[in-house]
């Protein structure tokens, strides 16, 4: 097995035994990036010298007796997370050349835990999108089929992990931006509960929804990364001061007696038959493992999409007011200060970001605030109550992550509403602020299908446990995209 194919768990075992060094591992992943990324295009920025320097440092720490949880593990970071001294663009032309003077809290924590940072991954501009096609730079390709999208907005991170261009990665999830690309690229991913991970240094999109999450090639890896990045941070007043459980201890392959609810509103007309089939089979597997499965109703599900597309753009329109060409990034001066704002923002933002700023500004504007923004916030309450009620009866809910597998590049970009509809299963949990975990659970048309496991606020251990038990009982997480001319592997798996 090539070193870049290792999971964190496998790599950690070899590093501990001294069979490999972090420098060797990091070099193998950098070579993989060098060989493949011209096709996948997962990275906006690769920092090989820094990575090798950090790998050397990790090897020295290990030689000195250190065994930090991610010591020497090469990881990728979504380009919406600030990295001191490394360009951070958010996939936007308006931030081209911006070099943050500080690290996000999650970066400080990853570095303290010994992680080696490979570079910054592509994203839809300011994390607004479902395909990376809204990136101001280029589109990332799905490693399973290069003519398809990797999902978004954290498509670069998901594609990098799927392609062996990183062992794990950080993403961010506002309405599904970790979960949807995890499903599309066939990797594991978690969107923690809102408030579980510090947002300090995460460039803001919609502040009441944004949460940093993690991708890995298996559930245990996601648990390891989450354990490092979770926790209270005085620099983020919305991070919650609750103890961080040992997530690796939650990895128990036993879910006997666990009550799992299947929301009927998530199996609706229009869902791709192969996706539904994979989910139904996965649910049978959970039942076979001893879970007590029953149907549940979340009656306000269909209102999540309109509520989300009023609330998130409203918050975004306020957050993105800071890009004025004065403090950083693109600046196109005009005759007056106001002309400078209009020029810089009009030319610096891409079409989707401008669309959402317009939508949000409208929803907040005089005369429409009550009908749109306030109304959407009330609907948010109803959606949250649906989940509160469901979690009185169930430990976890299981749903498809998306109604379809990864779509073709270019297929939906001209019709924003059809793009928004790809997120219908991830938006409601975001509005409720709960935990969502995704694991691969099959293939449809040769493309990965992801199962979404939802648990109540701060119930990450339960989500990880269900995901882990399922993963240990199935082989889906072992499939790799046919990137090395080994298309025959995929054929075998399909049968």
């Amino acid at each position: 097995m090539a070193l870049y194919e290792l999971t964190i768990r496998e790599a950690r075992a070899l590093l501990r035994k001294g069979e490999i060094s972090s420098v060797e591992l990091t070099r193998a992943v950098l070579e993989r990036i060098e060989a493949l990324d011209s096709k996948v295009r997962a990275y906006l920025t690769v920092t090989p010298e820094r990575a090798l320097e950090q790998a050397k440092e990790a090897d020295a720490r290990r030689a000195a007796g250190d065994d930090a949880p991610l010591l020497g593990i090469p990881m990728a970071i979504k380009d919406v997370i600030c990295t001191k001294g490394v360009e951070t663009t958010c996939g936007s032309r308006i931030l081209k050349g911006f070099v943050p003077p500080y690290d996000a809290t999650v970066i400080v924590k990853l570095r303290a835990a010994g992680a080696v940072l490979l570079g910054k991954t592509n994203t839809d501009e300011f994390a607004m999108g479902s395909s990376t096609e809204n990136s101001g730079y280029f589109t990332t390709h799905n490693p399973w089929d290069l003519t398809r999208v990797p999902g978004g907005s954290s498509g670069g991170s998901a594609a990098a992990v799927a392609a062996g261009e990183a062992l794990a990665a950080l993403g961010s999830d506002t309405g599904g931006s970790v979960r949807q690309p995890a499903a599309f690229c066939g990797v594991a991913g978690i969107k923690p509960t809102y408030g579980r991970v510090s947002r300090y240094g995460l460039v803001a999109f919609a502040s009441s929804l944004d949460q940093i999450g993690a991708f890995g090639r298996e559930v245990a890896d996601v648990a390891s990364v989450l354990g490092v990045i979770a926790g209270h941070d005085p620099r983020d007043s919305t991070s919650v001061n609750l103890p961080v459980p040992n997530y690796e201890e939650a990895l128990i392959p036993d879910i006997r007696g666990m009550r799992i609810g299947i929301p009927k509103e998530y199996f609706v007309e229009g869902i791709q038959p192969g996706v539904e089939k994979a989910l139904r089979e996965a649910i049978r597997t959970l039942e076979g493992l001893g879970a007590v499965v029953d149907e549940v109703s979340l009656p306000h599900t269909s209102y999540a999409l309109p509520a989300y597309y009023l609330i998130a753009p409203a918050e975004a329109s306020a957050n993105l007011a800071r890009y004025d060409g004065v403090k950083y990034g693109l600046s196109i001066p005009g005759e007056t200060m106001w002309d400078g704002y209009r020029n810089t923002r009009g030319q610096g933002f891409g079409p989707e970001v401008k669309r959402r700023i317009m939508l949000g500004t409208y929803a907040l504007s005089a005369g429409y605030y009550d009908a749109y923004y306030l109304k959407a916030q009330k609907v948010r309450t109803l959606i949250k109550q649906d989940f509160d009620k469901a979690f009185e009866r169930f430990d976890a809910l299981v749903t498809p992550t998306t109604p379809m597998v990864a779509f073709k590049i270019g297929e939906k970009i001209a019709d924003p509403l059809s793009m928004y509809l790809t997120d219908i299963f991830t938006l409601a949990p975001s509005l409720a602020g709960i935990c969502g975990m995704v694991v691969p659970c099959g293939l449809a048309d040769g493309m990965p299908v992801g199962m979404q496991i939802l648990t109540g606020a701060f119930q990450e251990p339960t989500a990880l446990r269900v995901a882990y038990a399922y993963e240990q009982a199935t082989e889906w997480h072992k499939l790799r995209p046919p990137l090395d001319g080994k298309a025959e592997d995929k054929e075998v798996v399909r049968q």
Partner: protein
């Protein structure tokens, strides 16, 4: 909800976005379609429902007023397009 071109121009001005005529017309059509879809939420009776601005029970998070080190001014200004005397330089706001 069908938007007029004047409304689109008003929103763009509130958001200080300089748009081309083509963009204005595109957003007029697209935003109208999105808002029409969003009008679905008007069907729900939310008379007695309080709004959720945040899912957290936290309110008014306070900290001690202690002096801690700040970033060096030159690092903060390093990304600025135009700087003078340790300040961001902007065009005159008045007059």
């Amino acid at each position: 909800m069908k938007l007029t071109l004047e409304q689109v121009e008003h929103i763009a001005e509130l958001a200080k976005l300089g748009l081309t005529d083509e963009e204005k017309e595109g957003y007029r059509v697209q935003l109208s379609a999105i808002l029409e879809y969003a009008d679905m939420i008007q069907q729900l009776d939310t008379e007695a429902i309080p709004p959720t601005a945040t899912v957290l029970p936290l309110r008014n998070v306070m900290r001690d007023d202690e002096v801690t080190p700040s970033l060096p001014v030159e690092e903060v200004l390093a990304n600025a397009p135009d700087v003078e005397d340790n300040c961001f330089r902007v065009k005159a706001i008045l007059g």
